[in-house]
């Protein structure tokens, strides 16, 4: 059975701290999924992926890849549980990760 093609977003981890980031429509990287560009066609998605290689070379990000998103009434959301968890944080520690906002940050050494 042929799978219907879903829109995609582009994600990576920041080199310095591993933080999950998303490619924005302006070609920058945001730590918020809500700011991610959503690519409606395979061609657009592949082009964004190719463009992002420049940021890998520039040591901004690592582990770049595309993932499926599902349109919804409150905007798109990641299709797979894995990407939902990356976009929010561990489901067993709501005080950690993006879902915690900036309140639960690193220890004494963190700026």
């Amino acid at each position: 059975m042929a799978k219907a093609e879903l829109p995609q977003a582009l994600t990576a981890n920041r080199l310095g701290d591993g933080e999950v980031v998303y490619r924005t429509p302006a070609g920058a990287w945001s730590a918020r999924f809500a700011e991610a560009a959503v690519f409606g066609t395979k061609a657009d998605a592949e082009k964004a992926l190719a463009d992002a290689e420049a940021d890998v070379a520039a040591r901004r990000v690592v582990a770049v890849y595309l993932f499926d998103v599902v349109p919804g009434p409150n905007g798109p959301s990641p299709r797979e549980t894995r990407e939902v968890i990356r976009a929010k944080g561990p489901t067993v520690r709501l005080d950690l990760g993006k879902q915690a906002g900036n309140s639960a940050e690193h220890g004494a050494r963190a700026s």
Binding site: N13, R79, T81, R82, I85, R86, R93, G107
Partner: protein, 552 residues
């Protein structure tokens, strides 16, 4: 405990300096990620779902209070205030920043610790019995031998690029708490009929995608031959292991495809060849030097019973339950082994906060000869506690949420980090552990169910040891939804067995119900105080399959 000598110290310090340089070159663009990845992995640094993850080795699960305090300091200073103790007796930090990892490694080196060989296709941290040197039944303390293997295998040039990772476990007790038969090499210290102590050698066990129980290739290996014989096994594997196929590259595949007799003969042939070269011989004085570090502490001569402890046990049900479940008999009169549960009801198995780590360090320093242990079941142990100190110890542990009296019971669940943290996972492990723990929380129920090992993995790699759980749970991904496959009858002790898959998988909520039904059926079927595992081995899978799937 073992203390680093000049070689150890220099080696670890040089490695930290080297990694600091590698990180700097990565950040400066002199190394690509493809070039850097193997270098960071050699230092235990992974990239996981949300951040980097640093895996720190705890050799054979033994720590001093000073080391535990440093682990707390690292959690507090560089991470988010906690760490996760793993089924390899290690600790993992889930949120370190790349640029700070060399500082963390420097801090670790200052207390004789590191993250070397906690990843990659090399010999990993050697694991052992958490009650080593304390339990009465022990034939001999396995830790000096684990330490000898650690020294031999650290940076061993011939075994730095094996076909696949390699895990060795050593135990010195007839009752196996180190799961030796599901390791690449498992070693039991045994006594021969002549009264000599040596090793029984098991090779080719493992979990993961293709679980296998190790085959015994040597019934009695004299201690003096340990490293030479291990080297012969490693050479045989290094030469013949399947480098062409990642899924067939572990030694278990080689051993089981070759067959026990033939593999044994191949090792013997290699061993004979080595005798003609320059066999590794560890000088007896070097062995004696290492053994001396593990000499028993200066136990006081004490009466075995402590009246005040017994009185409190008679008066306080909670204390009595804790004594029953979390305190084990020690070899020295008047002393006890204390398990510290990292499985609070509804908690994350194996997680400890920096404050809890500091407390445990204080307790080890003042009440347990400065020693503590990490277990492969993701708990901690104070190995040498005076019985008269038990009431105070219990109160302090209880106040910190560390006295859940559930060791070996239904809520003492092993769970890997799963999809909440891990890049390889297909499903979450921790939430189902939490739900089961809450469902089975009642102390009377748990004690009625008796010894029960529930083990949960979020993917086929089986870090959560589901193949050897009395009840094993494996998370799988079905079209983007998490499902859980249940297996029954596994065990990782001296009667190791692999669990049998019950049938089609369940959603998370259904899986919790199914475990509840399985336990209900066990209570109906058990005879004469049989444990779950004994009962399952007697009746087999059929009644459980009928109960679970009959109604579907």
């Amino acid at each position: 405990m073992y203390r680093y000598d000049e070689f150890d110290r220099t080696l670890v310090k040089e490695r930290v300096a080297q990694f600091r340089g590698q990180v700097a070159r990565r950040v400066a663009g002199e190394l690509t990620e493809d070039e850097f990845r193997p270098l960071r992995l050699m230092n235990g640094l992974y990239l996981q779902l949300h951040a980097y993850m640093l895996r720190v080795a705890v050799p054979y699960g033994t720590l001093s209070s000073r080391q535990m305090r440093m682990l707390a300091h690292i959690a507090r200073t560089y991470d988010k205030g906690y760490g996760h103790f793993t089924t390899r007796q290690n600790i993992q930090y889930n949120w370190p920043r790349l640029g700070e990892v060399p500082d963390i490694l420097d801090d670790l080196a200052s207390v004789e610790m590191h993250a070397i060989q906690t990843s990659g296709n090399c010999i990993r941290n050697v694991t052992s019995d958490q009650y080593a040197g304390a339990i009465a039944e022990e034939i001999e303390d396995p830790r000096p031998w684990a330490e000898l293997i650690r020294q031999w295998s650290t940076f061993h040039p011939e075994f730095s690029y094996l076909p696949r990772k390699f895990k060795i476990a050593v135990t010195g007790s007839p009752h196996d708490r180190a799961a030796v038969k599901v390791h690449d090499i498992g070693l039991d210290l045994v006594k021969s009929e002549a009264g000599e102590i040596g090793f029984r050698v098991h090779v080719g066990g493992g979990q993961g995608r293709t679980p296998m129980i190790a085959m015994t290739i040597r019934e009695f290996l004299p201690k003096a031959e340990l490293l030479a014989y291990l080297e012969a096994v490693m050479r045989t594997y290094n030469r013949l292991g399947r480098r062409d196929n990642l899924f067939k590259a572990r030694i278990k595949i080689l051993v089981h495809e070759t067959g026990q007799e033939k593999f044994r003969a191949m090792v013997d042939e290699e061993y004979a060849l080595m005798q003609g070269e320059s066999p590794i011989e560890v000088p007896p004085e070097e062995v004696a030097r290492i053994v001396a570090y593990f000499a028993p502490p200066a136990f006081e001569r004490l009466p075995d019973a402590d009246p005040a402890t017994d009185r409190l046990a008679a008066e306080d049900r909670d204390f009595a339950a804790w004594l029953r479940r979390n305190v084990k008999a020690h070899r020295a009169p008047g002393y006890a082994i204390v398990d510290i549960s990292l499985k609070p009801i509804g908690g994350v198995p194996g997680d400890a906060t920096a404050d809890q780590m500091d407390l445990v360090a204080d307790l080890a320093e003042t009440l347990s000869f400065d020693e503590l242990r990490v277990t492969h079941e993701q708990n901690l142990v104070l190995p040498h506690v005076r019985k008269r100190d038990l009431p105070e110890l219990w109160r302090r542990l209880k106040a910190a949420g560390l006295a859940t009296p559930n060791m070996g019971l239904a809520s003492d669940i092993i769970a890997c980090p799963g999809l909440d943290y891990c890049n390889l996972a297909n499903a979450r492990s921790i939430p189902i552990a939490q739900k089961l723990s809450e469902r089975l929380a009642d102390q009377a129920l748990q004690e009625d169910l008796g010894e029960l090992k529930i083990k949960i993995s979020g993917c086929i790699n089986a870090c959560g040891h589901h193949h050897v759980g009395h009840i094993g749970i494996l998370g799988v991904d079905r079209k983007g939804t998490e499902y859980y496959q249940i297996s029954l009858g596994g065990s990782a002790d001296e009667n190791t067995s692999l669990g049998e898959i019950l049938g089609p998988s369940f959603t998370e909520d259904d899986a919790v119900e199914v475990v509840d039904k399985i336990l209900g059926l066990y209570r109906e079927l058990r005879e004469n105080g049989e444990s779950f595992l004994q009962c399952y081995r007697r009746v087999g899978a059929r009644p459980f399959k009928e109960r679970i799937y009959g109604a579907h």
